[in-house]
Amino acid sequence: MRKTFLTEQDLALGCARKERDAQGELYARYAAGLFALSLRYIENREDARDLMHDAMIKAMDNFKSFKYSGEGSVWAWLSRITVNMAIDRLKENSRFRQIPLEMVGGEELEDAMEPDAESVKEIPDSVLDGIIAELPPVKRVVFNMYCIDGFSHKEIAGKLGITERGSTSIMAKARASVKKAILSYLNKTGL
């Protein structure tokens, strides 16, 4: 019979003590979420699963260094580990190049039209996933980090080895691409 951990804090304590039940519970609670997160960074399902598993193992090994600071902090910590590992992996695979990016010339990036927030809610998950997955690797990573996982441009710049300005401009481009994709989807479906 497995021991149950009612609160996140209990779970964190158990994991820090390397209790097996706690580790199982950790997996049960967070694996699916981390897998979804990995999928946003790495297209291939198998690779994403590997990444999630490796991140889990890393987290379980280093749980002592985790400090509980309120509800949701376990997730925040786990997702940071996963994102960092995802970036390392992308760099390794050389599909992702480190580019000192200097933007030349100002392209017209911002459309006057913004997608309506209400109708964005209506877009099915699969379509939204597709839109993000379609972005070129660099844009995809920056968009994921900034927009969804809440990294600052400074952090992104540090992790990817680009300038802060580079990060903002890639983000602007990524935003424009996503926006365009969303608008065209909405037009197509007539929403």
Partner: protein, 433 residues
């Protein structure tokens, strides 16, 4: 942040993806392997710190099955009942499971097996009669071997013709287990041709002796549980009849190969400084000249086109293109005559052939799924304007939907994101249906 971005954030960050059932097991086996390697590393470290204890620790490492020696090793391929349920599932009712402790935890009973450390020490203290003989420890021995470790086999190897002992002959012991023979360990002979191999279990074995210039011998023997020492006596080896002839191995990088009408230059044979352009390398090729106006001749004949992996890629300004590429990227350069456009279109040979220079780039297949890929292309590029997938598709003459991925490999100074105006490099396009 814009409203719609907030919505995306909200929806994406709360997402969970569906995991197949087998993932938990996959994870456990991965974690077990990881834990094992961590523990191994720790032991090796410990061994390195205390040199006198090193031998004992290494023995411990090899002899002790890993799942019994450390109490916190609780990872096992466990029963389905132990499998945690993915968070959303209905079955996980925490309150119920707290109340009813049905089975005691199975791991604890398993782990109570005595720590074999003491045995190891006891064995370590045993006086080793002949310390100069190396004993190879079997790769995955069983626990029983700790008990039956003092069975040994000895023997001496002699030359059949001269009756001299053979020094440094190899002896390999195979255990006969039903239809299988399993390599257990081996040793070499000393100055007197003698060998000893210890730590054997009772059973049937084959001793195989080998020595360069002699025929192999095979000898069956049995170790009974009673005898601690089995003597194979004198083993004689006959000299091999055939003499070994002298053998020289050398390799020369072929500079130029002729295949029918194709002249193939191996670029590895033409050394150019790092970062040199393709033009620099092409200049070095024998018989190839580049005139001031950029026109290229091979053996006096003008080259009309430059191809990349057999496909047309460059426009007319050839020399400029050659300057854009670094020589290291190229594997082979071929010069051959190709039918003219007209005869290729009509299928009728009009006898008008043109000389082409074909730059061979290594083909890189990504994703590793070669079987699924119908075509993959590698080409050099120098983006004069922003290029999209559909442009590449048009260039390659395939539908856009067939393009799986596009990757850029660095080249030159103007590094940009692929597709950006001004970016250059070698791009690989993986396409498939």
């Amino acid at each position: 942040m814009k409203d719609w971005e907030d919505i995306i954030k909200e929806r994406q960050s709360g997402r969970k993806a569906e995991l197949p059932e087998s993932d938990w097991n996959d994870f456990l086996s991965r974690k077990a392997a990881h834990d094992l390697s961590v523990r191994r590393r720790h032991r090796i470290l410990a061994a390195a710190i205390s040199i006198p204890a090193a031998a004992a620790v290494l023995l411990l490492l090899f002899l002790v099955p890993f799942n019994t020696d450390v109490p916190d090793n609780q990872v096992s391929q466990n029963e389905p009942s132990e499998q945690p349920v993915i968070a959303d599932s209905v079955d996980a009712n925490p309150v119920d499971s707290v109340m009813i402790p049905v089975n005691p935890e199975p791991e604890k009973t398993v782990i109570i097996a005595p720590k074999p450390v003491k045995k190891i020490y006891a064995q370590d203290k045993q006086p080793e009669p002949q310390p100069e003989i190396t004993v190879e420890i079997p790769a995955e021995p069983q626990v029983e071997q700790l008990v039956a470790q003092n069975h040994s086999v000895t023997g001496a190897i002699y030359d059949f013709d001269s009756s001299e002992p053979l020094y440094s002959a190899a002896v390999m012991i195979y255990q006969v287990d039903g239809a299988d023979t399993i390599y257990i360990g081996g040793s070499g002979t000393n100055d007197n041709g003698e060998f000893i191999i210890s730590d054997l279990e009772p059973g049937n074995y084959i001793a195989n002796t080998r020595f360069a210039g002699f025929d192999d011998t095979y000898r069956n023997f049995t170790i009974s549980p009673v005898d601690s020492m089995t003597d194979l006596g004198k083993i004689t080896m006959r000299g091999d009849q055939g003499m070994l002839s002298e053998l020289a191995v050398s390799a020369v990088v072929a500079k130029v190969q002729m295949i029918n009408d194709t002249v193939m230059f191996n670029s590895a044979a033409y050394k150019v400084p790092e970062g040199a352009s393709v033009e620099d390398m092409v200049r070095k090729l024998p018989g190839v000249e580049i005139a001031d106006d950029g026109s290229i001749t091979v053996n006096g004949k003008a080259v009309s086109r430059i191809l990349v992996n057999g496909k047309e890629f460059f426009d007319d300004n050839k020399q400029k293109e050659l300057n854009q590429l670094t020589a290291e990227m190229i594997e082979k350069v071929k010069a051959y005559e190709k039918q003219s456009d007209l005869s290729r279109q009509t299928g009728i040979d009009d006898g008008m052939e043109e000389l082409v220079l074909d730059l061979g780039f290594p083909m890189i297949v990504l994703n590793g799924q070669i079987a699924d890929i119908d075509e993959s292309r590698l080409a050099t590029c120098n983006f004069r304007r922003t290029v999209r997938k559909r442009d590449l598709a048009r260039l390659l003459g395939i539908p856009v939907r067939n393009i799986r991925s596009v990757n850029v490999y660095d080249a030159g100074a103007g590094r940009k994101i692929w597709g950006e105006k001004g970016a250059q490099g070698v791009i690989s396009v993986v396409a498939g249906k």
